[in-house]
């Protein structure tokens, strides 16, 4: 049913979201907001290029098109609030203030990455900025976020938690389970469904019986609101109001941001589920066009200043790539580090097994395992230089991987 009327059902004018015109904040805020969105856009474009060059492995999910949703949300957070996101979270880390070099280094699998090269694109983490993770399991972050909010409530702080996930996650069991518990226990949490119109390649109306996702948690006791995910000010206003409700009145809220991702689900997405026309229909709503245009029109920034900010973003991303390139890969001997917190219960005895070499030994003793073990570890690591020719060709085309 979907292909013929797909665009009609999903065009920017058919989302049910009314365009709002909020007054502009002061110049410094406008400038910082635009700069963050530009940084995310330029970072993601460059990440896509680095993926094509095979500097980045695995999956790469770009958030191009969702910058207003991300920056509007994070603008509404206090520094002490928590944020949990999905596998499409480079922008969230950047908006929270994680150094772009640490984000790019993580995508490169380098030791200076914000997760030490252990997590990759889908698992960014920055405890100092209270970004408690990107998560690779759809819907997996909702219970975690509710647990974080429970801790805030338990300890009597007024910290709130913002949990962001996609439209696809609303179909997971954890969505209903977590909504129920959050409402039941009056947790200081805001759930934000980033409705980018697709759960991977399945269009919203083909994966969810209720397409007004803001209503989807009401039956569990979590009221919802919608905002224009392409309007950074509308997102911020809506999320700020929801956070206030959650923080002060302990009434968890759901916010649906209606947005659009211009790139595929991941770099491995041939995008056969939508038309080029549909993507073009959404182009005029691009927040990286509309927001600066409004700032120029209102005389807050000149076109030249917008351009300078953008150049700064490009320069920052250049530096991030240089930083990531310079950073070494993690030491092979660190393979077993940090599986456990070493302490009273984890000390001498056998807690991990390394059976990669003939002399089977404790993983935690990898550093003392001898030459054969080291040679075999290096032999394994040397395969990192191999790339399957099909994969290489597909990446060069900007597709597969």
């Amino acid at each position: 049913m979907a292909t013929e009327d797909a665009t009609g059902g999903r065009g920017p004018d058919a989302t049910g979201v009314e365009a709002a015109t909020h007054p502009l904040p002061d110049r410094a805020v406008c400038e910082a907001t635009l700069a963050r969105m530009q940084l995310i856009r330029r970072f993601e474009e460059r990440a896509g290029e680095m993926y094509a060059k095979a500097k980045i492995g695995g999956f790469l999910h770009l958030c191009i098109g969702e910058e207003a949703t991300i920056v509007g949300s994070t603008n509404a957070l206090r520094e002490t609030d928590y944020l949990l996101s999905t596998y499409r979270e480079h922008g969230h880390a950047l908006a929270r203030g994680t150094p772009p070099g640490a984000v790019m280094a993580e995508l490169f699998g380098k030791v200076d990455g914000c997760s030490g090269g252990r997590g990759g694109s889908m698992h960014l983490f920055d405890v100092d900025r209270r970004l408690l993770g990107g998560y690779g399991i759809v819907g997996g972050n909702l219970p975690l976020a509710a647990g974080v909010a429970l801790a805030s409530d338990y300890e009597g702080t007024d910290d709130a938690t913002l949990c962001m996930f996609g439209d696809g996650a609303t179909n997971q069991g954890t969505f209903g389970e977590t909504m129920n518990l959050a409402a039941l226990w009056k947790l200081p949490i805001v759930f934000m469904v980033v409705n980018n119109q697709f759960g991977m390649g399945t269009a919203l109306e083909r994966h969810s019986a209720v397409t007004d996702l803001s209503r989807k948690a009401a039956g569990y006791g979590v009221p919802g609101n919608r905002c224009d995910g392409m309007d950074v000010l509308d997102v911020e206003r809506c999320v700020a109001a929801a956070l206030e409700k959650a923080r002060v009145e302990r009434e968890p809220q759901l916010v649906e941001a209606v947005t659009y991702r211009y790139r595929g689900h991941s770099m491995a997405d041939p995008e056969e589920y939508r038309t080029k026309d549909e993507v073009e229909d959404w182009r005029p709503r691009d927040p990286l066009t509309t927001f600066p245009a409004r700032l120029v029109e209102a005389g807050v920034l000149s076109e030249q200043e917008v351009e300078q900010l953008d150049e700064q973003a490009v320069k920052t991303v250049d530096e991030a790539v240089e930083f990531a390139d310079r950073s070494p890969f993690p030491d092979l001997a660190s393979l077993y580090d940090d599986i456990y917190v070493i302490g009273e219960q984890v000390r001498d005895p056998w807690w991990s097994t390394d059976a990669r070499s003939p002399d089977v030994h404790r993983g935690e003793q990898e550093r003392e395992a001898g030459e054969v073990a080291q040679e075999l570890a290096e032999a394994g690591a040397a395969h990192a230089d191999e790339t399957d020719p099909d994969t290489r060709a597909a990446r060069a085309r900007g597709a597969g991987g």
Partner: protein, 324 residues
């Protein structure tokens, strides 16, 4: 003191000692726990710290992980180990992985308690033994206490530790009595208990099977003149392999007894470790006695026939000595 009372005492002591420790699970509060392990805790600690949850296993465990990341020390009770399968996503993808995949920026001091085991005619969705499943997962600690003292001491240790712990109790053992020393300090993970000394064959019993192994050892001594050394590993991660190997080097024979399934079981792994580390000391193949390779049947004779009893262990031990 009964095993369940020892667990209750450990919970009570640790909750008194540390305000960050709290308990949540299905029917742990007003109902006092499906197996009464949490009896009286709601009364003492109130609803903030003893939290009845909806029946939402995956989310309860996930919330425990989130709360632990944010600085609390949650204890989550799951009603049976079979129900923990609904929470496998959060146990494996979150609890076990988070510290490693986020470059050690946070820790997950979470205890997930669950009872296992057959013998109560609860059929194939409430009777299984999954310690093999949980010992498989790096990032988790796994405890399988069999005595009241171990239940108390290991639970205290689990609650105080900074790692996620899967704490596997046994439904049959809840009513068993045993001495718990006054003011017992936490026991240490990774320290096996030698329940009986002997020089002829080493029998390693997992969870309730440590008890079965002891009974078998008595029979072996009385009826066959065989002196078995019985080892209860008490924890499977970390594993006190040294104690097991020292015993095998003395007896040159090993029998591993578990209630769970044979394919990929605890015994499968342990026999691999033993032959890798002590091949030259073995005078017979390492023997395994496991549960039957089937979903647990309801019918009482079928159920009893499908998990190891002392007769099975006696036969296996004698076989390693060439008596059969």
């Amino acid at each position: 003191m009964r095993y369940r009372e020892a667990l209750n005492l450990a919970l009570r002591e640790e909750m008194r000692a540390d305000e960050r420790v709290f308990l949540m699970g299905e029917d742990v509060g007003v109902f006092q726990g499906a197996f009464k392990v949490t009896a009286g805790l709601l009364e003492e600690f109130g609803e903030r710290r003893v939290r009845d949850t909806p029946i939402s296993e995956n989310t309860i465990v996930g919330m425990g992980v989130g709360a632990a990341m944010a600085g609390l020390r949650p204890i989550v009770e799951l009603m049976t180990i079979n129900f923990s399968l609904l929470a496998l996503d959060q146990i494996v993808n979150s609890a076990a992985s988070i510290r490693y995949m986020f470059g050690a920026q946070v820790k997950v001091p979470l205890v997930i308690r669950m009872p296992q085991g057959a013998g109560h005619q609860l059929g194939p969705t409430h009777s299984h033994s999954f310690e093999a499943l949980y010992q498989h997962i790096p990032g988790l600690l796994v405890a399988v206490p069999t005595t009241a003292a171990d239940a108390h001491g290991l639970l205290k240790a689990a609650i105080r530790d900074d790692n996620p712990v899967v704490f596997i109790e046994h439904e049959t053992l809840y009513g068993r009595r045993g001495e718990v020393p006054d003011d017992q300090e936490p026991l240490r993970f990774g320290e096996a208990a030698v329940r009986r000394e002997g020089g002829d064959v080493t029998i390693v019993g997992i969870s309730r099977m440590a008890e079965t192994a002891l009974k078998a050892a008595d029979t072996l001594a009385e009826e066959h003149g065989i002196e078995a050394e019985v080892i209860d590993p008490r924890t499977l991660r970390p594993l006190d392999l040294d104690t097991i190997l020292a015993s095998v080097r003395k007896t040159n024979r090993a029998v591993i007894v578990e209630e769970g399934w044979p394919h990929g079981g605890v015994g499968a792994n342990m026999s691999a470790l033993i032959q890798e580390q002590a091949f030259d000391d073995l005078d017979a193949p390492v023997a395994r006695v496991t549960g039957a390779d089937i979903p647990m049947p309801y019918s009482k004779p079928l159920e009893q026939a499908s998990f190891p009893h002392e007769e099975h262990v006696v036969q296996a031990a004698r076989a390693t000595l060439g008596e059969l």
